[in-house]
Structure formats: structure tokens, C-alpha cells
């Protein structure tokens, strides 16, 4: 595909180089850290990866969702979702350190001989099955991403034929079912099994909701960087921004709802096999971090996003989205941190933020954004022959009038 009609904004062009530089530099420093403490490197790296891979996963989910539901917001962001989802094959390459070093971070890889609980799960939690599933997940997700992007290119070329439309719908419907199931098991494999004694049936849902929230946040931020340039200048409308704001708001509430459900049920039940998870997270410094997450991931953003003006004005919405993205990272740290530090249920887990816990997400994030921008560049920034964007754009006032 050529993008002669829609040249990429210069800001994006500059970011392409800077993110690559930042990503490689930060990961190189982490690589040096790995020489002295390989275990800590793997822990920090897994945390960073678990967070960042949620964006391509969430993108694939929202891409399928918008093919099913329609709506202008989805058409506007479709190229972002497609570009993010096309980073999945590269994400697999970035997953390789975890795949090769899993035995150093997951306790089930070397269980104590008398641990009956881990022995019971050995059929599921063993290196071969775990790695096999990871490869399968990435292969399947990449296939989905490839098909959606291929067909989207067909739409650019020939328009949205009825045949193409029904192909989109069929793949999105079946794909969404498959995606929800595979992401659930991926989250169990990569996140929950860090504490192989603990389980929670809502875990996969919490990860999925977090993923779409992070995706929405990233896409709003990226959109705000390009909203003043073509082709967005032409198709942006205030009510579409409003829809994006409402979705961000709704996903954040959904995130809070799922987490409250898990917390309330486990806290009330107070069962020995479940409550250690929260004991490690609501006491001491981890508890303070948890309170911070409750207040600044949910309470304060909720109050701010109640405002109609914030939801409708990209200039105000984008900082909120960026903040929520940061909070997703902090929440991921709170979720994985005590288990990564090896505290499975002691009442006051020691809190120790390693410098690689900061640098690894920065490096991996920069690389992911670089990969995303490269993919984004390869196609027109909005889908062509898209009824949602064309018919209404003609007689609508632009968002920044």
C-alpha cells in the first residue's frame, strides 16, 4: 500500500526515531542489569511485558468488537487497532526472554517435593505445556491480526462489498469468542501462576477489561497528537470524541467493578487458600500502593470524567487518558509485584521497587510504540470507502471549530 494521499504527520515521523532510540537504550541498560541479577531482570521484564502486551491484545478485541457493533468511534480508531494488533508477531519475539527464562520466575517450575497443590496442577502448569500454549496464543492472535488487516486493505482498494462485510462479521464473532478464552488462559499462565496456590475465577475478565482500558487510553493519546492534521482534521467530530470519552469512562468503571467484585468476595470469604493474595497487597507499603490505585485509578478519574466537557474535548481528554495508562501500569505492578517478589501470602510483603521495574516498562513501551507507529505508517490513517466516516463528515462541523 502507498500512503500518498495521507502522508504521516511529521510529529509521528520524529517519534518513530526517538522511540526506537529510547527503547533500545533502556533495554540495553536493563540487559546490563541482567548480567548482575538475571532473576530481577526477568521479573521486571515480565511485569513490563504483561502490561504492554495488553495493548495489542485489547486492540484485537476492540477491533473485533467494532466490526460487530459498528459505530463511528470504531471506524475512526480502526487503523490504530489494526496497527497495534499487527505488532503481535513482534511481541512474540519480545516474549522470548520470558519464554527462555520462565523457570527462574515461576515457582511451579521447581516446586517443593511436598507441595501437593502444585503437583495436582502439573498437567497444566509445566514448562512444555506452558510454552506450547504461549506459542499457540501468539500464532492465533497474529493470524487474526493478519486477516483483519488484509481484508481492511481489500476495503481500501475495492470498497466494502457485502461479501467482505459478512467475512468481517463472521471472523469478528468467532474471533471474539476465541480471543476471550485464549486471553483468559494467557493471563492465568503469565500472571496468576506466579502464585501457583492462588486462584480467582474472575482473573481473566479483569485482565481483559484492563487491556481494553489501556488500549482506549493509548489510542486517545495517539489521536490527540494527530487530530489537527489530515486526514483526522476532516473526519473528527465532537460527538465522536464524546463517544471515546464515554468508552474510556465506562471501561474504567468496568475495571473498578470487576476488581471490587473480586476483592469483596475474597475478603468476606476469608478462606485460607484465597485471602493470602490480598493480605500481601493490603498491608504495609503494598497496601498504600493499593489505596493509591483505588483513589487515582478510579475515584479521582471517575469524578473528572463525569464532566461532559472533559469527555468531549480531546485537549482535556488526552491527559486523562495518559494518566489512566500510567495507572494501568501501576495497577499491574500492584497485581504482580508481591508474587514476583516471592511473597505468597506473608502478611507484610516487603516492598522494594527495583530500578529495572521502572526502566523495563519504559524500554519495552517505547519499542512497542515504535512497532505500532511503523505499522500505522504503512497504510492510510483512516479506512477508505468507510460509510461511517464519509457520509456524515460532509455536513458536520469539525471538532476543533
Amino acid at each position: 500500500m502507498t500512503n500518498a494521499t495521507h502522508p504521516v504527520p511529521p510529529a509521528l515521523e520524529r517519534m518513530l526515531t526517538s522511540t526506537l532510540g529510547l527503547g533500545l537504550a533502556a533495554l540495553a541498560v536493563c540487559g546490563l542489569g541482567a548480567l548482575s541479577s538475571p532473576d530481577q531482570f526477568l521479573r521486571s521484564y515480565l511485569f513490563a511485558f504483561f502490561f504492554w502486551v495488553s495493548v495489542p491484545i485489547g486492540s484485537l478485541g476492540l477491533l473485533m468488537l467494532q466490526h460487530l457493533t459498528g459505530g463511528r468511534w470504531g471506524a475512526l480508531l480502526r487503523r490504530f487497532f489494526e496497527a497495534w494488533s499487527r505488532t503481535l508477531p513482534a511481541a512474540f519475539v519480545l516474549f522470548l526472554p520470558v519464554l527462555l527464562g520462565y523457570a527462574k520466575i515461576y515457582p511451579w517450575a521447581h516446586p517443593p517435593a511436598d507441595d501437593k497443590i502444585i503437583a495436582h496442577k502439573a498437567l497444566y502448569l509445566n514448562g512444555t505445556a506452558w510454552a506450547g500454549r504461549a506459542i499457540f496464543f501468539f500464532a492465533l492472535w497474529s493470524l487474526f491480526a493478519w486477516l483483519f488487516s488484509k481484508w481492511s486493505a481489500e476495503q481500501d482498494r475495492d470498497g466494502l462489498t457485502p461479501g467482505l462485510s459478512s467475512r468481517f462479521q463472521a471472523l469478528a464473532g468467532g474471533g471474539l469468542v476465541t480471543l476471550v478464552l485464549t486471553v483468559t488462559f494467557a493471563s492465568i499462565d503469565w500472571g496468576m501462576s506466579l502464585n501457583p496456590h492462588w486462584f480467582s475465577t474472575i482473573y481473566g475478565v479483569i485482565y481483559l477489561v484492563g487491556a481494553v482500558l489501556a488500549t482506549m487510553a493509548v489510542c486517545i493519546v495517539v489521536l490527540s497528537r494527530m487530530a489537527h492534521e489530515e486526514p483526522f482534521l476532516h473526519v473528527m467530530r465532537k460527538d465522536t470524541v464524546h463517544d471515546l470519552g464515554k468508552l474510556l469512562f465506562a471501561f474504567n468503571m468496568l475495571w473498578a467493578y470487576m476488581n471490587l467484585s473480586q476483592f469483596l468476595i475474597i475478603w468476606s470469604g476469608n478462606l485460607p487458600e484465597e485471602i493470602p493474595y490480598y493480605l500481601a497487597r493490603i498491608n504495609g507499603a503494598w497496601g498504600a500502593l493499593g489505596l493509591f490505585v483505588v483513589l487515582f485509578h478510579f475515584v479521582v478519574p471517575y469524578a473528572i470524567l463525569l464532566s461532559r466537557d472533559v469527555k468531549r474535548t480531546l485537549r482535556l481528554l488526552a491527559p486523562m487518558a495518559a494518566w489512566l495508562l500510567l495507572m494501568r501500569l501501576v495497577d499491574t505492578y500492584w497485581t504482580l509485584g508481591p508474587d514476583l517478589a516471592g511473597h505468597h501470602g506473608s502478611e507484610a510483603a516487603a516492598f522494594h521497587l527495583h530500578w529495572m521495574d521502572v526502566l523495563a516498562p519504559v524500554g519495552l513501551g517505547a519499542l512497542f510504540v515504535h512497532l505500532f507507529l511503523r505499522q500505522l505508517k504503512s497504510r492510510p490513517l483512516v479506512p477508505q470507502h468507510e460509510a461511517e466516516l464519509q457520509t456524515e463528515a460532509a455536513h458536520a462541523a469539525p471538532a476543533h471549530a
Binding site: 497444566y124 478464552l181 475465577t201
Partner: protein, 459 residues
């Protein structure tokens, strides 16, 4: 009722072409204002009203005899009363979802189905309320146990118990749904008042319309009130069944204590609710000739919502089964084995057949567009959702931690009579509703007519 549409329902209009403002009003108002009540109405009403008498009969027996006339026993202290309560409350959810959330999501197709879906919600809540009220055995003093009020003995309900949260959740739900429904009716009451054929009807509908004259100021206030109520009702869609799920999940019983319960119960409620809306909509549109308003597109959309929520429910079952094994807890593993292969195993597999296998046929467009099949599936789902509550409640209770206190449960004839009676009550109320109130919102239907669209021209 089966038909093979020539058009793809997914892209069909949400109102049949050719209608004008007056034809919409004529068509809908005529059902209410007709002098002659159709024979089939009398027939259906008589049957439903007779069945509803079972409620009275059961209550009389219950108050004389006590709840010993029910099948509840140790260790199954929760039986039909809570199964039926959850079933009815769940059915009500589609009404709130359609009227509030779909309104906020700007889904215009909701317009022709919201009125009777909201009525269905209210009637379902009326039926649901019977069970917690009468399971106390002494309903006239139940209020003292449920409602917190400052009393001289300093007795308070247990605020940590989700059952008390339920009292608040359900009463809020009932009152907000009733207000929402009534507010939505006001402009239509005025239309009926103006078209009434005798003084009495004009007076009754006139009182209902609260002096509505349709002025611009009225409409302005009305629109903001309606939108605010929709905003208020939206959290209720989620909160009520979340609290219902807490009734179970906050306890420690295997099979009840699962963190997936809140979202999975909410999805199940919407699932059951849409099944009931379809069960009612398909005959209603055929008998009263409302196919122009409740179109194939509506049925197709509702079928898709039902399929999607059914898949979420299936996800819940899958997670329960997987984590029962993954937990490595002997209680959890026993619970799922007992549920699948124990004495109630046939109920579990019937539930899987009704709630997971059957609705997946709706992926096939041909089946989804067949009204007979859709009607059948909607009934199957209603049965499946009842079985779900039966399986969750009974199989978890009947064999808990202590084998010496295991037992079996079976509903008695009075359990069944109460349940069947409330179905009769529900249908009776629906018959009255269809006869005396406009089943489809007249003024909202006009807003989706092509003539209602104001073209904006920027010069």
C-alpha cells in the same frame, strides 16, 4: 409464524416504510381504545387469571401451615423461593437494559420494544417480591427484620449481610423502574385522553397525563427528566444482580463462592430478560398486527444480544469448571463432580443443553431469522436459566463439607403451585397492560419516522 425474509434483517429499517405520524398513533392507540375487546384476549386473560389464583391458594396454605409445606429442609434451606426469586429478578433486567442503557447508547431500535419490556420488568419484580416476603412465614412482621429503623431495643439488621443489601437494591430497582415507566407513559396518556371515546376514559387517562399539553416547555423538561432517569436506572441494571450474586458468593460454600459470580450473574439476567422479551414480542406482534413496528430487525438484534449474553454465561460455566480443578481444593473438585455426575447431574446437563448448546444455533442466520425457531429458543433459555439457579442453589447445598448432614431436595406440590401461580400472575398483568395502556410508545415511534428528521443546513 415462520418466515423467510427476502431482505437481510440486520440492515432492514426499524420501522416499516409508509407510516406517517397519524398512522403510528392510530395503529397503536386503537388497540387500547377499541370498544370491543377481542375474544382471544378474554380467553387468554381467563386462563392466566385462573392460574394466578394458585398464588392466593398457596399463600393461604402457607400462612396456615407454615413453610413446612415447602420442600426446604436441612441442609437445603434455600429452595424454590430463592430459585424463583432470582429467576424473576433476572427476567426483569432486559427491560431496564433496553430502556436505560440502549437509550444512552443511542440505539434507536429500542424504541418500539422499551415500553412493554419495562412493563415486563415491573411485573417480574412483583412476582419476584412474593418469594422473599412469604418465605419469612410472617410477612406482616418481615418489615421489622429487613428495614433498619431506630428502635428502642437497639436491634438492627446485619449490615454485612448481602441479603440486607438485596432489600435496598430490589426496592430501589422497583421504584426507579416504576417511575421511569410512568414518566415514559405521560405523553401517551395525553394522546389517549384526547382520543378517548367516553368521559370516564378521558378522565382516567387525563389524570395519568398530569395535565400534559405537549408545549415546548413540557417537552424540554420531559427530555431532561427522562435522560436523568435513564442515567439513574443504568447502574441498577448492574447493581441488582450483582447484589443477588453476592447473596451466594460472599459465603464460603463451594459452588457459591466464586469471584466470577457478579459479571456472570448480570449477563445471565440480561440473557433471561431478552429471552422473555422475545417470548412476548413474537406473539404480540403477530396477534396485534404490529409487524411494522416490531420488525425483523428487532428480532434479529435481540437474538444477537441473547446469543452474546448466553456466551458470557457459558464462559462463567467454563471458568467454574476449570478453576474447580485448578484450585486443587478437594471441596471444589467434589462440588463440580457432584454437580456434573451426582444425583442432580441430569439437571446440570439439561442446563448446559438449554443455555449453551441451544442458543449457539443462533449463529446460523437462517435459524436466527426463523421466528418459530427464535420463539422456541427463547423458551428453552427461560427453562435453562431456571435450571441454572436450581443447579447452583441445590447442588451446592445438598452435599457440603459434612457428609453426615448431606440430604436431597425436591419441591413439593406447593412449591410448584406458587411458581406456576406467579407465572399466571405475570401473564395476567401483561394482558391487562396490553388492553389498557399503549404497548408501544407512540410519541417515541414518531421520532424515528423519516419525517421527524430535521435536516441541518450550514450556510
Amino acid at each position: 409464524m415462520a418466515s423467510t425474509p427476502h431482505l437481510d434483517p440486520a440492515s432492514a429499517p426499524i420501522i416499516a416504510p409508509g407510516h406517517t405520524f397519524s398512522s403510528v398513533t392510530d395503529k397503536i392507540a386503537s388497540i387500547v381504545l377499541a370498544r370491543r375487546t377481542p375474544l382471544h384476549w378474554f380467553l387468554g386473560f381467563t386462563i392466566a387469571f385462573s392460574v394466578a389464583q394458585l398464588v392466593l391458594l398457596t399463600i393461604v396454605r402457607l400462612l396456615f401451615w407454615g413453610i413446612g409445606s415447602w420442600g426446604v429442609t436441612v441442609p437445603i434451606g434455600w429452595g424454590f423461593d430463592i430459585i424463583n426469586f432470582v429467576w424473576w429478578i433476572g427476567i426483569g433486567h432486559a427491560g431496564t437494559l433496553i430502556s436505560a442503557i440502549l437509550l444512552l447508547l443511542k440505539q434507536e431500535w429500542r424504541t418500539s420494544i422499551n415500553r412493554f419490556a419495562e412493563a415486563m420488568t415491573l411485573f417480574a419484580v412483583v412476582c419476584a417480591a412474593q418469594y422473599p416476603l412469604f418465605h419469612t412465614g410472617r410477612p406482616w412482621i418481615a418489615a421489622y427484620w429487613l428495614l433498619p429503623y431506630p428502635n428502642t431495643m437497639g436491634l438492627w439488621p446485619n449490615f454485612r449481610s448481602p441479603l440486607i443489601w438485596d432489600v435496598f437494591a430490589v426496592t430501589t430497582y422497583a421504584s426507579v423502574s416504576a417511575v421511569f415507566w410512568y414518566v415514559g407513559l405521560i405523553p401517551d396518556f395525553a394522546t389517549l385522553r384526547d382520543r378517548a371515546k367516553n368521559k370516564l376514559m378521558a378522565m382516567v387517562y387525563g389524570i395519568g397525563s398530569m395535565g400534559w399539553r405537549g408545549s415546548a416547555r413540557h417537552w424540554h423538561n420531559y427530555e431532561s427528566a427522562y435522560l436523568l432517569l435513564a442515567g439513574l436506572a443504568t447502574p441498577l441494571v448492574v447493581s441488582v444482580h450483582t447484589v443477588v450474586s453476592f447473596d451466594f458468593a460472599v459465603g464460603v460454600l463451594p459452588g457459591w463462592h466464586a469471584t466470577i459470580f457478579p459479571p456472570y450473574f448480570v449477563a445471565g439476567a440480561i440473557y433471561a430478560g431478552f429471552a422473555m422479551v422475545l417470548t412476548l414480542a413474537i406473539p404480540l406482534r403477530a396477534w396485534y398486527g404490529l409487524k411494522d413496528f416490531i420488525t425483523d430487525r428487532h428480532l434479529d438484534n435481540m437474538a444477537k444480544v441473547m446469543l452474546a449474553t448466553g456466551l458470557i454465561v457459558a464462559y462463567g460455566y467454563a471458568m467454574e469448571a476449570f478453576f474447580a480443578w485448578y484450585s486443587a481444593s478437594s471441596w471444589e473438585i467434589f462440588m463440580i463432580r457432584n454437580r456434573m455426575f451426582g444425583p442432580y447431574g441430569h439437571m446440570y446437563w439439561a442446563l448446559i443443553l438449554c443455555n449453551v448448546v441451544a442458543p449457539n444455533t443462533l449463529w446460523v442466520p437462517r435459524l436466527r431469522h426463523s421466528h418459530a425457531w427464535l420463539f422456541f429458543i427463547s423458551l428453552v433459555v427461560s427453562v435453562g436459566m431456571w435450571l441454572e439457579r436450581y443447579v447452583i442453589i441445590v447442588t451446592s447445598l445438598h452435599r457440603d463439607f459434612l457428609p453426615s448432614s448431606w440430604g436431597m431436595y425436591q419441591g413439593t406440590v406447593w412449591d410448584w403451585s406458587f411458581f406456576i401461580g406467579t407465572i399466571g400472575l405475570f401473564v395476567t398483568l401483561l394482558y391487562l397492560f396490553v388492553r389498557f395502556l399503549p404497548a408501544i410508545s407512540m410519541f417515541e415511534m414518531k421520532t424515528i419516522l423519516p419525517g421527524a428528521r430535521v435536516e441541518e443546513h450550514h450556510s
